[in-house]
């Protein structure tokens, strides 16, 4: 049996292939390791072996990037079945997906694409999250998205949309602080006001990452250090919600492991300091 939501606190990093050996040799002090679920939809081999080694030493956070919860296409049953098998195999501490869509008419873009935030979309998302949670027999976390375009037909803010989704399905939220900041700049809103729309009880995890600045737009690359405004927003979120399991997310131009560990230590310091004032 899988525990519904094991208690987890502290900071983790993504486990990426170039770091496998060093992580297993050093076993750095971390609260958890995160992997992308889809990279482990395999029967066996080196990747699965690495995940099993990681699981033996750390709680695991499974982060999905391909389920496409918000597609008008039918939910991919085979994909969900693979996720279920992985969840049973790994018994992760956390399972998360994104508030996005990625496929239409059977064609997959393998990206996290933005949704119009209206009642129609909310009803669809509630239905999908219910189905995923009943299939996996556990609560999942749904993450706010970074985006570069906004739909005209979006009556709700993303925070209000996610808060409603959490209330109606009982799912938790994964607050990606960098995504919130990226969107605040790209679309010109106050990210602190967005935090005020979320219920503290719903926040099950936070993400921190770096982004790129291109012309008039921030691009969520997960390829650089967390920037100062994002650290500040994280402080605000910790004050408001208390400390939550927090991931340093780094996927492109992977640096030395020590860089990730330093960022994780910085996040831990902030969470402890700010949560004490919460």
């Amino acid at each position: 049996m899988i525990a519904a939501n094991p208690v987890l606190s502290g900071t983790g990093i993504g486990l990426r292939q170039p770091h496998y050996r060093e992580v297993f040799e050093r076993l750095p002090e971390l609260a958890f390791l995160e992997v992308h679920s889809e990279n482990f939809f395999l029967e066996g081999g080196a990747a699965m072996h690495a995940l099993e080694r990681a699981r033996a030493a750390y709680p695991i956070s499974l982060h999905g990037v391909g389920l496409s919860l918000g597609s008008a296409d039918a939910l991919a049953g085979e994909h969900l079945a693979k996720l279920k098998r992985l969840v049973e195999r790994v018994e992760p501490a956390l399972v998360s997906e994104h508030l996005c869509w990625g496929s239409v008419g059977g064609v997959h873009f393998n990206d996290l694409l933005p949704l119009p935030r209206n009642d129609e979309t909310l009803a669809l998302l509630c239905d999908r999250v219910d189905r995923v949670q009943s299939t996996l027999k556990r609560r999942i976390l749904v993450e706010n998205l970074s985006a570069y375009i906004a739909c005209r037909d979006s009556g709700m803010s993303e925070a209000a949309f996610l808060a409603a989704l959490a209330r109606r399905t009982g799912c938790g939220l994964l607050l990606d602080v960098n995504n919130l900041y990226v969107n605040a700049i790209n679309f010109g809103f106050d990210p602190v006001a967005a935090l005020a729309e979320l219920d503290a009880d719903s926040i099950g995890q936070m993400h921190l990452a770096g982004h790129a600045v291109v012309d008039d737009c921030l691009i969520d690359t997960h390829g650089s250090l967390v920037c100062d405004p994002v650290w500040s927003l994280y402080e605000e979120a910790c004050r408001r919600f208390g400390a939550r399991p927090t991931l340093i997310e780094w996927d492109t131009d992977l640096p030395a492991l020590d860089v990730l560990l330093q960022q994780a230590a910085q996040a831990s310091d902030i969470a402890q300091r700010e949560a004490a004032h919460a």
Binding site: F41, E43, V107, F109, I149
Partner: protein, 256 residues
Amino acid sequence: MPELFDFQSDFGAALRDRRRTPAMQRWLAGDADLVDRRMAIYRANMVAAADKALSSAYPVIRQVVGAEFFHGLAREYQRGTPSTSGDLTDFGASFDAFVAAFEHTQSLPYLPDVARLEWAVHRAAGAADAPDWDAAALGAVQPEQQAAIRFAWSPGLAVVESPHPVARIWTIHQPGFDGEFGVDWDRADTALVARDGFAVVVTECDAADATFIRASLAGAPLGDAAATTLATHPDFDLGALLVRAMAARLVCGFTL
């Protein structure tokens, strides 16, 4: 969900073809120029995802043609054969046919077979781990029953036959290869792809052995597979092949 489907159809069409961007303007906030610039970000993400997935499955082809050309190959392949799964491990199964037909790879006639070999390696890398098995059980089979033995080959095992030296090409492009880089381009290779623990190994395989393994993989019992092989390779040595296969743990069980 008709409205959401229409939005996503228009968005998808604009991702796949920039000329379709104006048609999705009605769904989006911001002027046409802004939407055009922002859609370019999503379009680049889409191609980057294809490049990353294909680079992972086809690292040798990427080295042979170079990263920049490979990026273009990924874009063109995706254009004709878009992903149909949220799991990119499945993406690229028909890359061999694509490079066989692609105008700008005609000067590299061995590329399609290298692609077939790399796809077999990619599948083997994620195949189930071979179960522990005591080969001594094979010795207990009565002589009159031996022809009926159906081998269970280790998961991921594959034979790739080519008129080009594909096993050699694959070998010299492996990370850490420090041997002689020469290639005899007139040689035809039959490559055997197999797991060795968690690693995938590619070895050159004798044509007779390959014929037997292929027949056996297709489900033929030992007697039939051996007869098929001997018909074209009269010098086929079944005993020697089985000794090698057991030693390399290519066989992980059998049924009668």
